[in-house]
Amino acid sequence: MIPDAARHEWYPVAMLSELAPSFAQDTVLLGERLRISRDAPDLPIRITGPDGARCAVATRYGHLWTSPGGPKAGLFEIPEAAQPGRRFVDCGAVRVRCSPLRAVENFLDVAHFPFVHTDILGAEPHTEVERYDVQVREESDEVWATKVRFFQPMAARSAEGGIVTDYAYRVPTPTVALLYKTCPPRPEERDVIAIFVQPLAEDLCDVWPWMALFDDTTPQADLVQFQQMIFLQDRSILENQIPRLLPLDPGLETPTRADLTSVAYRRWLKKRGYTYGAQTVPA
């Protein structure tokens, strides 16, 4: 049984560029089988649940989105996706044997960069996480972390040499996280990097990284592989956290000031009653 709070969120279920003009295929969302189909090239995509009921469909940010219980609101906005000159990069799904919530939480964390993404997103001895701001924005009910600064040896495919990178993080819906970071070729703009997480089960997910960048020169393959390299470095971490489910109650894990985004994310999930992939009772 899928908790109600989870049924009404938006989830990615496919990459649009991978869908043929007409097709029919199955996928799994929150433990239930969904049928995705398009009978002819000029017809809209249809998604049906296990009971045959039609589900909501949105096609944005390079991906196909659905909400099995009917969405509470429209798909979240990424204003940068409408900005002229941005390059959109689909990275394909990577399957991870972990809670979808652990995948999101890891994406919101900078303190692991020197140890997991060594010499790319971080390096000893530059391990300090300075104080940053975290809030749940009332009007949008989103988790935001801003003024996150971290020293990075090679912040992006387009970066040359180490820089202190400025990050902002945003969680618009429980299984989606975006980051905004210093854009080396266009200092006045921010690159947008996202992970769209499709929960297959409480401890299994497909993670779809996606980027909206200002970068006219780097070949597409290099951009994709840079992001895949980063995410695959995280995968062996995510598959080895105990417990597999994300603990929402304090006590089982030990957050510090560097983990304020994680603390806010867990509280926000708990407040919304979003428990799919979460451990709510201390072990």
Binding site: H112, P114, F115, E124, I242
Partner: protein
């Protein structure tokens, strides 16, 4: 700090062999499982072997994926490092912070004797069995239950040590139950055994394992 009680686990009381000493060189960490309990077994620069619950108190990452510098075990995820007594000594995200004394790993009794590393459930007054005259050969894991392993080895129990022979070479065997149907055998040969006898024993053990696991899809579970 009390050592972790494994009484409720499937781990049997007394000492359980979990590794040959030589398979745990200084400055390394390895995962071991005893009766369904996951441990990080590690050896610092000072040479002492230690066993902790395989979980960093910060975010639950397995410590056995970490690394050892000097006499500290460090978590691979965020670099939190823990000293010999299990106290967190460094949180790299906050270099100026002295970690609170409450941040600690959970230790398990661990001793080294006879070229074998042993762990025990709770405090135990007994000593690990005497292995004088024996030299560690290898550890290998069977996808079979304890009875099938003992039968395939043709072993008899003498004071907590299984004895058998591979061809003309006597073997002493110590069993570690990772789970009911996953048994690791730590095997020793007489100190006097030569190279040919030892290699012969290594190969004999492969055959014994095939026998214990029986037929099936190529003989083993996934």
């Amino acid at each position: 700090m009390a050592e972790m009680s494994l009484i409720d686990s499937e781990m049997s009381p007394g000492w359980t062999a979990v590794s040959l000493s030589g398979d745990l060189p200084a400055l390394t960490v390895m995962p071991v499982t005893v009766g369904g309990v996951d441990l990080a077994l590690w050896r610092g620069g000072s040479g002492v072997a230690r066993a902790w619950q395989d979980r960093c108190p910060h975010r639950g990452m397995r410590l056995s994926h970490g690394f050892v510098r000097g006499d500290r075990l460090t978590c691979i995820y965020h670099g939190w490092s823990y000293g010999a007594e299990g106290a967190c000594l460094r949180i790299p995200a906050h270099p100026d912070l002295e970690p609170p004394a409450t941040i600690r790993t959970i230790p398990v009794a661990c001793r080294e004797a006879g070229g074998i590393v042993w762990v025990a459930s709770g405090a135990t007054a007994d000593l690990p069995p005497d292995l004088t005259g024996w030299a560690p050969l290898r550890s290998l894991t069977f996808a079979a239950d304890r009875a099938s392993v003992i039968a395939a080895l043709g072993a008899r129990d003498e004071a907590g040590i299984l004895h058998t022979a591979a061809g003309g070479t006597d073997l002493a065997v110590l069993l570690q139950a990772r789970a009911a149907d996953e048994i690791t055998a730590h095997v020793l040969v007489p100190e006097t055994a030569g190279l040919a006898a030892r290699i012969g024993a290594v190969r004999w053990l492969e055959t014994a394992r095939r026998r214990a696991e029986g037929p099936g899809p190529r003989g083993i579970a996934a």
